[in-house]
């Protein structure tokens, strides 16, 4: 299987602190992957590098076919190349309706003058409705996003990411603060999304990772500590040391 994202020996340090240390990582075209690790393991920094928010001191990040060098692109160019990112805190545009949020996320032309002349097509309307159904918000299209519950905001954000139709979806702690029922719905959404694209989930919560039932990468002090099924990595003595303390 050729890989969609190839991260090769990247390192980055902030004021002498090595947040990422010679990290390499690969993910295929249709794959669900969980990244776990204790606080400060470099999970968020890793996402920052892939999405262009942080530039690594060294290393390479290649994406897609033909391969793009992500280190030469801006955040918005990377997003347009097909990488979507969901932040830890649900960030939807609260002052705008659910419908407008989804409409903005649809994978249409994003340059200013094209957007200025944009007219909604029946096809876009259909896509918005289909997405709303998928994320379970079809009854809420006209409501302001700020009025939604925490879980609904998370789904709306996932829906907006799906609307972007990315090849790679990076999701930061999707289950934080969710009820059990909401978690099940979220797991379904992510697994279904991973049937047609690569999805990387960063998560603290082992129980949620088990539910995702996918390959797991364990990060520690900025590099990969172990990789494999959840049972495989939790049996690894290094992982046990890191998680339970020495």
């Amino acid at each position: 299987m050729s890989s969609l994202l190839e991260v090769t020996s990247i390192s980055v340090s902030f004021d002498g602190f090595k947040a990422i240390n010679n990290l390499s990582f690969e993910i295929g075209g249709q794959e669900l992957r969980a990244i776990i690790g204790p606080n400060g393991a470099g999970k968020t920094t890793f996402m920052d590098i892939v999405t262009g928010k942080t530039r690594p001191d060294e290393g390479r990040v290649r994406f897609g076919e033909p391969q793009l060098d992500l280190l030469r692109l801006s955040e918005s160019q990377i997003a347009r190349a097909g990488i979507g990112r969901k932040f830890q805190r649900p960030t939807v545009f609260e002052a705008q309706s659910v419908r407008d949020n989804l409409l903005m996320a649809l994978s249409n032309d994003r340059l200013p003058f094209a957007v200025l002349g944009y007219r909604e097509t029946p096809r876009d309307d259909e896509r918005v409705r289909a997405l709303a159904t998928e994320i379970g918000l079809s009854g809420e299209l006209g409501r302001k996003a700020g009025e939604l519950s925490h879980g609904q905001k998370q789904w709306l954000e996932i829906g907006m990411l799906l609307a972007q139709d990315p090849k790679l979806l990076l999701v930061d702690e999707p289950a934080a603060g969710m009820t059990l029922g909401e978690r099940e719905h979220t797991t379904d959404l992510l697994r279904r999304a991973a049937e047609t694209r690569a999805v990387v989930v960063v998560e603290h919560d082992m129980e949620f990772v088990r539910r995702l039932d996918c390959k797991v990468t364990v990060l520690h002090e900025g590099s990969v500590l172990a990789e494999g099924t959840l049972d495989h990595v939790t049996a690894n003595s290094d992982v046990i040391d890191v998680y339970l303390g020495r």
Binding site: R80, F93, L103, M104, P112, G142
Partner: protein, 389 residues
Amino acid sequence: MQRSFFARQPSVLIFISLLALFTIAIVILSEGFGLGLVSTSFVKILGKTLCLCLVAIAMDLVWGYCGILSLGHFAFFGLGGYMIGMWLMYERTKDIVIASLEGAALPPTAEEIREGIGTQIFGVVGGSDIPVVWYFADSLFAQLALVVLVPGLLALVFGWLAFRSRVTGVYLSILTQAMTLALSLYLFQNDSGLRGNNGLSGLQNIPGLTDMPQSVLSVWFFLASALALSLGYLLAAFVVSGKFGNVIRAIRDDEARIRFMGYPVEAYKLVVFTLTAVIAAIAGALYYPQAGIINPAEIAPIASIYLAVWVAIGGRGRLYGAVIGAATVSLLSSWFTGGQAPSVPLGFYTINWVDWWQVLLGLGFVLVTLYMPQGIGGLFDRFIRKDAP
């Protein structure tokens, strides 16, 4: 399905109808065309106020909708005024020079006329050569183009430098103030080529229309200002009503998020900043022929801050709010500082409104910020049914 433009922006039709009624009423009451109940100087004040409303709409677009607190839009307004002022002053001086040379035995040469114009205009700053920036001053068409091009290019270059370095928030505000201050200080210099602190004057006299009395001219300018304001309102409503409006509101609310959705935030900011600078410049080009004079003090940093205050008092993020704020505050300001407001004798002290108006405005601003964060325009929300889905 998508609703029509006017259904999504109900304020547009209401605003334009009210403005049309107001305009007709003023024309009927004016000295130039109607009953003479409204003085020419008041028609000029109203015309100028409409221009200020237009620049307030620009400010609302850039700040209220896109979240860029620019404290430099009055610089663009002033530049627009300078550009049209150059043509007005040059052409009028040319007419005067030609008239004065008429009695000579030989018809004046082009060289003599140029020299005469140079001495007339630049005598006050100790020069007689026409500076190179006045190259196009005898062409109305060229100067009208410069009204748009000079502020537009300045905004484009300034915005490009600032936005691509990700300067945001209060730092950007400070930067725009610095730009404004630098421009005004430059214009204060005698060798800036724009007559230093004397500025440009006599702008109320329109070359080629010297026979038209000010009472008639003022009404024409008033009408032009009303037309420009309606068009500006329509344009701004169009910009904020569709997906573009949603994107710039999203930039205001969470810039990083919309960037990760693939929108080139810097390009949007640059478009909005430049567009609003051009609107401000057009407003200025209509304002100063009614004011009659422009000098660098008009571009002082405080003017741009006032602009932000008007929009905040009127209610940002709603176009009619900007208009209400600009109209209310600038009309009150000219009433209080024009000496019409009666002084209040307190026995031991007399409140003279010319001095105390600033205090009143400051208090008003604080009160609006504390108790009416939506501004005066926010009061309308009580009458308007919540936007149906």
